[in-house]
Symmetry: C2
Subunit: 210 residues, 2 copies
DNA sequence: CGGCTAATTGACTTTAATCAACTACAGTGG
DNA sequence: CCACTGTAGTTGATTAAAGTCAATTAGCCG
């Protein structure tokens, strides 16, 4: 994540307290869902952070090289797998307590720090959507995302225009409109007006969004 | 970024020290490149974080709603604009000193914190690439990104396979191969082997990658 | 040298973008 | 109150970009 060379005392302080480990090409360092108790610094080689969809599609969120830190997670579990791209050596560190945002904290700095972490997670999840989902899947995912952040049970009010949605999902207005029409045709959603709708089948929408 | 409801004492502590401001629909809160001296909490309404390409393409990186914090930047300047989607009220806070990663710090926690911030930026930049660039533009951007992180002047060694590149850029191996062939045809790159190449015209690659 | 995988290239198909009407709707002023 | 206007949204026809399928070539390691 960060190039050690860009910081003073690059890896000296860090390396002193960690455990060195070596990985062969294609070897898994940790898998999606593993308990996230450590973070890592790359000594040499390269690591890819990737996640796989149920149907086999794969998405790589980042490549990490010598000097980069990775595996910093807000959650209890890693959100993506890490695999060695080539012959790689890393140093392993126990995750510091202050990383544990799951634990309730209330200072201003904790709130700001938590917002940053959450923002990073959301950006990664957004990249995954943009990189590997089809138009109809993007729309399903978008509606579910909006639904999760609203308080309503089934009703959903979209504050933004179709153009905004298109620019968020990497599509055109026309495609957004057509996909919403298809979801309506399939009885997964119902419109009250162009910006107010009901989600009729959350499970089906989840199935579509991968 | 973070839903205040998910934290104890949601906005009480924060709201106490900030300045409330109101925005009309479509109004700009801050623009890409503005000095990043503040961050914001949304009281009500909705904000979009967006960036515009030289040719007019627009990309929205995130929507923020009531309770979300946004505008937390590692850099001196905001990396994307923020605009009100609808009638919106926010509270403005001065950015805390410890956000200023540009200033050299060397403690372990600073390194970890900096890595997280950088990782967030990279994920946002990756999302922008995935959302609004064409295949050839993605490849140009990818080569430049790899070049920046290598020490070589013009030579570039790709540690990863074409499949890895495809999964990183949201493309197929065939498209990756065809785009590299086109860049070669246009004399922007030259191959020594399939994973070793020279960048012959950085400026042209930058122009292509938007 | 042979056998395997990675990478390239070509032919064709599919998806989403583009271009072009057309409809719905909100706000304005007669 | 209702016609007029302008914007947002939808729908259809066509094109362009990238994906798929298939065959071939290049590298690599025994």
């Amino acid at each position: 994540m960060i190039r050690a060379a860009a910081l003073p005392r690059p890896d000296g302080a860090l390396r002193a307290i960690g455990t060195v480990r070596h990985f062969a090409p294609q070897q898994t360092i940790f898998a999606e869902g593993d308990p996230a108790g450590h973070f890592m610094l790359i000594i040499h080689g390269m690591v890819r952070s990737c996640s796989t969809f149920s149907d086999g599609r794969r998405f790589i969120g980042a490549f990490y090289a010598a000097g980069d830190l990775f595996g910093l997670e807000r959650k209890e579990a890693y959100l993506a797998s890490a695999e060695a791209v080539c012959e790689t050596a890393i140093v392993l560190y126990p995750a510091p307590d202050w990383l544990d945002i799951a634990r309730p904290q209330d200072s201003l700095s904790s709130q700001v720090f938590g917002a940053m972490m959450l923002g990073a997670d959301q950006a990664r999840s957004h990249a995954r959507l943009l990189g590997r989902l089809h138009a109809i899947e993007k729309l399903s995912a978008f509606l579910l995302e909006r639904h999760e952040r609203s308080n309503q049970r089934l009703q959903l009010t979209l504050e933004m225009s179709r153009q905004d949605i298109a620019d968020y999902l990497g599509l055109t207005v026309e495609t957004v409109s057509r996909c919403l029409a298809q979801l309506k045709r399939d009885n997964l959603i119902r419109f009250h007006s162009s910006r107010r709708l009901d989600l009729l089948d959350i499970m089906a929408l989840q199935a579509i969004s991968g």
